[in-house]
Symmetry: C2
Subunit: 149 residues, 2 copies
């Protein structure tokens, strides 16, 4: 898709994408090696009652779904940040996650070279429960051959 | 460390941790396969002028540094979310990142079983430039054998 396709009120959906327990452990061993992310037995003794995914892996999966759908072929050039990131429910092995994206507003930078989209991203599991939400800002390089910025 | 060690005004530091270009590409191929994260030649033609890390990998590295230091041996049980997540500057292969954490405030849940810490996390590169910042909330299981929550 392209920046011009993102208009206020538009909604997009991607997935589902299954999460494997092996992937949960692999990611967490490297980046978030807390017992409830890497050790099923230790996790069972916590209030989570079993292994759950690192929240940063859940964010990465949301990104994967966006990159494979609405950002594919776009002028995307990254993001300055995110507001109100919420891990609303745990993600477990075998869950199938679906991304929904709702465009809030868009504009072009004063220099004319950057398209700016604010949108709400959310991930839902196979039971329709929201597990992740955030309000993200994304930048798109729409300046063509302009080089003076 | 333990929840009781986190008091308003306390500061912690961890790292540095070097980021490899191979790791940048490996992470992004799986979760954020945009050209400026996975293809050095294509990245050089963007406004970034070269390969940069996925912002979600940068967050994961902040978590890695926290888990290896202030969260190690703690009662950490996860996080409900993050405010004002900002990717302030690009992270590139060879960068050495240092985490700073400043405790804003702490409290115990009304049920008495959860310690709640709000703190500001930031990553700086080897030039002292801030590349990431966020205000995170973390939960700690301080309820002992209480089971009625």
């Amino acid at each position: 898709m392209k920046f011009r396709d993102f208009v206020a009120g538009a909604s997009f959906r991607a997935g589902p994408r299954e999460v494997g327990e092996a992937e949960i452990i692999e990611f967490a061993r490297r980046y978030d090696a807390q017992p409830f992310h890497i050790d099923p037995q230790a996790a069972a003794a916590t209030r989570w009652g079993g292994l759950i995914a690192s929240g940063w892996m859940t964010c990465a999966i949301a990104m994967e779904l966006a990159v494979g759908s609405l950002l594919a072929g776009s002028e995307s050039i990254g993001s300055p940040g995110v507001e109100k990131l919420r891990w609303e429910r745990p993600v477990r092995g075998g869950d199938r996650l679906t991304l929904t994206v709702d465009v809030l507003d868009t504009r072009i930078s004063s220099a004319g070279s950057t398209g700016i989209v604010r949108w709400r991203w959310a991930l839902y599991n196979q039971r329709g429960e929201r597990v992740l939400s955030m309000r993200a800002t994304s930048f798109f390089d729409v300046g063509g051959s302009a080089s003076s910025e």
